[in-house]
Amino acid sequence: MGFFNHQNLMKIHYQKKRNSDKKKNKVSMKSVGDDIIPAVEESDSSEDEVAPRNTIGNAPLNFYTDEEHIGYDISGKKIKKQARKDMLEAFLARSDYPWNTIYDEYNDEEVEIPKEWRKLIRRYLKGKTPHADVDPYPEYVDWVKHDAKHPLSNAPDPKRRFIPSKSEHKEVLRLVTGIRKGHIKFEPPKEEKRVYDLWGEDSSSTDKARHGLRYIPPPKMKLPGHEESYNPSLEYIPTQEEIDSYELMYEEDRPKFIPRRYDSLRKVPAYDKYLLESFDRCLDLVLRPRVGKKRINIDPESLKPKLPSHNDAVTTISVHVSGQWLASGSKDGTVRIWEVETGRCIKMWDVGEAVSCVAWNPVPECLILAISAGQDVLVLNTGLGSAEEQQRVSELLNIGAPSETDNADKSTSIMSWLQHDKHEGIWLKHIKTVTSVVWHRKGDYFSIVMPNGDSRAVLVHQLSKKFTQRIPFKLHGHPVSSVFHPSRRILFIATKKCVRVYDLSKGKLIKKLEPGVREISSIAIHPAGDNIIVGSREGKVCWFDMDLSSQPFKKLRCHPKDITNVAFHRSYPLFAASSEDGTAYVLHGMVYSDLNKNPLIVPLEILRGHTTTDGRGVIDCTFHPRQPWLFTAGSDSVIKLYCH
């Protein structure tokens, strides 16, 4: 009885719980006398679970209400119900000693509640804390010292924390001006005494670095792996096919070691190259020069016979108005005419110098090609037309002796008209390099541009009269290209900075267009004549509307590199720009006849396919006059045709 602890209480609770939860409510409490103590003592005797006296398990107790017994003990004998106390006795016991005993219905016995528990119950009933030791109202301890000052503040950061300090700035300024003016002088870095470290390591990095050499350790030899084993696993053994393929390799490329299997170390043969290698080392000792391997590297493509194609970058292309032929000029000094339909090279001329520009005469019956190469301009009869047309062309290109003398007084210094001796055509010799040849739409006049020709940089030649005139205007800057207006007597001359528009009939400057780019490279005019595109060396295309201002209507930055040429399509609303980066852009440029409507410009496609060689990509681009096709000439000596 001495120690009633919580464990006992739990045990009783446990026994109660054995009955289902519903039953729990039915447990009636009874306070009885001291007569049932032994049962409690029994449960108290050990820490282990004490089996209940009754063995009916979870069977409902009301099964036994009408029976004589309450259940069965562990040996299977019936447990008789105990005689009931009469009501009066029970009441007295309850009133005298309330909460002394509790009735266990399951085992049909009175269980005495220990004294401590009774105390607890009584405290519960009074609504007090169960333990008497607990003080519900302890003294309040004030831990915070209210007289001490609190270190933190909620005040926002002052503005001066966010703005640079003026005083510091002043100080820095003072120091900077001082240093600049030389008031403040720094102490020169002290020169340390150079002492040769006698005992230092031989390959000390500081010493070597000073001489610009750095010690590079030789690569470490690969440690032997599994394949070097005398009995490697099967995956390391090369198959017969692989061994055969080694035989096909060059001696130097063959693997030095071919793994082989020996089932015991005793069977491994001696190193077969022992003698050879020791001999080689002896040769190394006498400083025999090592022979570099000589392998003939022949590109199999180079052995093929040459097809008729350009051998160097194609610099310029031009399509005949009919769309039947394409003329191209190349750096290798040849001009070729190709059939667009089949890609066949029909004609070829060797002009001896890198061709800078070719241009077909825009009159369909006049199959004349103008070529500029170096300082020469050739106007050649292509010989493609019918007999009558060829007759007419050769008459046109025939220079009589008098016409030469006529011009002699005027323009011998800049150029002269000669009959070409090798090819059928006219040979115009200029004093400076000609970069561009452009025909007038009627096919009689053509203008040439000599960037270094100073006052005679732009010339207009008349084919029918064999007459040359220079543009009577002052050009400011080097001209790059020129273009005739498609319907009016207007000439556009693009210099490096701006485009000048001259009226040839009135003889005056009409307009000056300022694209605002670093350097203009090319210019093209819309077939209606009111819009101009200008390509620049920085990859920008500027669209000018002549009716609007002299500033570009739109600037398109499309290429990362120089634009080499820009072109308009004659009938489709398309224009294109080719660039050194090896691509060509095709853009939709719709010009409306309604003057109030601005042109619509939509980028359509990036055409790739050319490889860049020597930093040059696509050098020229031209549209087919009637089909939505773009020809591009590349520095890879290929002309490509892109079809819609």
Binding site: S322, E341, C643
Partner: protein, 432 residues
């Protein structure tokens, strides 16, 4: 049947099929229905049929077949085909087999001096070729028997004129020298060089294509000057001799028997190069042009009856197929398109075959078959097509460069000429 099915395929689904054919006796398999695995492809089906035929005849030599289910060629495994077409696999499937259309023999190419730009196989006795060196040639087997000499520039088109009652062969050629020339030779005669008996001048730019009238009375030619000219082919001087007299004075010492002819009429309507003309009926001319259109002309009135717009510049055109009314054309893109002009309301092509990888240069319908046509392309391939499948029946890759022209010959061979200067003949294409 069990014996030829591999062990592992026994598990797969089977379909009941019956093989039928229109082929003649030795190729006729028994028409009893049999069960075959559904994953068989064309090759498997072919071996089944070959085995069936071998059962009937022990010395049977296997040959490839093509298979038609409901009028469509099988180009995938049977199972996929049935699924794709939604055909029930429960009932007995009727599979018609035909001989596979593929050349079984490639003859040694005949080398020319320059690119072969025109070829014609309309006469079963020989093959006509036109070359960029300006000569037309007549090939019998591998030997060149006749050379047509006279053009000043590359020949672009060549065709035979079928004249009734004429003993000798008549040929028309078009050339880049702006003339059309008519030639006459006896194919049997071992004569070597032929000169044109009539020179037709009138085009102002290179002539791209020439086609004879079926009766042989006239020829038409399409040119870069975007016109189509009609010419008479008669040998008498009754018309146009006024013109020829004047010219004859100039080159009288060269050839006195050469006639000159002027165009009877000119069909104007195209805006760009007329790249191809055909004259399948007495009254109708079809033409294809670089202005993206195909036109059909009434010869009597000289008006265009029909215009089809394609969107691409066209290079080759032919009319044939079902009741000789389908128009096949190819041009500056890799798609061979076929139109049915009888279909009213839409000008969209009824078939589009896009297996080439470059421009198409020529397309030709087979003379007797309604489904078969060929196309040649700059990608160096000649493809044989069947309207019943979207895949090419076979691809002939005998050229090493662009193929510029191709034609059927004798009904079972394909002749083609290309930029590798070769005339290639692929024979034993078993159509029908």
């Amino acid at each position: 049947m069990e014996a030829m099915v591999p062990e592992e395929e026994v598990e797969t689904r089977r379909v009941q099929v019956r093989f039928t054919t229109k082929l003649k006796a030795p190729l006729k398999a028994p028409t009893t229905s049999i069960a075959i695995p559904s994953n068989l492809t064309r090759l498997g089906l072919s071996s089944v049929v070959n085995n069936l035929l071998k059962a009937g005849k022990s010395d049977w030599e296997p040959q490839p077949f093509d298979f038609l289910i409901d009028g469509e060629l099988v180009r995938m495994s049977l199972e996929q085909f049935l699924l794709a077409k939604g055909i029930s696999a429960e009932r007995v499937l009727e599979i018609e087999y035909i001989k596979a259309v593929a050349p079984r023999k490639h003859e040694e190419p005949s080398l020319h001096d320059d690119w072969v730009s025109a070829v014609s196989g309309s006469n079963p006795g020989f093959v006509l070729t036109g070359c960029y060196d300006g000569f037309g040639r007549v090939w019998k087997g591998r030997s060149c028997t006749h050379i047509l000499e006279g053009h000043g520039d590359a020949i672009t088109s060549i065709s035979t004129i079928n004249k009734k009652g004429a003993e000798s062969t008549h040929v028309a050629t078009a050339s880049k020298d702006r003339t059309v020339r008519l030639w006459k030779f006896d194919a049997e005669e071992p004569m070597n060089k032929v000169r044109a008996f009539k020179i037709l001048r009138g085009h102002s730019s290179s002539v791209q294509s020439v086609a004879p009238q079926p009766s042989g009375e006239m020829v038409c030619s399409g040119s870069w000057d975007s016109t189509i000219n009609l010419w008479r082919t008669n040998e008498s001087d009754t018309d146009g001799d006024l013109v020829s007299v004047k010219k004859r004075k100039v080159n009288s010492q060269a050839e006195e028997s050469q006639l000159e002819g002027e165009a009877v009429s000119s069909l104007v309507g195209h805006t760009q190069c007329v790249s191809s003309v055909v004259w399948p009926e007495e009254r109708t001319i079809y033409s294809a042009s670089w202005d993206h259109s195909i036109k059909s002309w009434d010869v009597e009135t000289g008006r265009d009856v029909l215009s089809l717009f394609c969107g691409k510049a066209l290079n080759g055109l032919d009319v044939g197929g079902d009741s000789s009314a389908l128009i096949a054309a190819g041009g500056s893109d890799p798609v061979l398109r076929i139109w049915d002009p009888r279909k009213s309301g839409s000008s969209a092509p009824v078939f589009q075959f896009a297996s080439h990888s470059s421009w198409i240069t020529a397309c030709k319908w087979h003379d007797s078959s309604r489904q078969h046509l060929l196309s040649s392309s700059y990608d160096g391939k000649v493809m044989l097509w069947d309207l019943r499948t979207a895949w090419p029946l076979s691809v002939i890759e005998s050229h090493k460069d662009k193929v510029l022209c191709a034609d059927w010959w004798r009904g079972d061979s394909v002749v083609s000429g290309g930029a590798d200067s070769n005339l290639c003949i692929s024979s034993e294409v078993s159509i029908l």
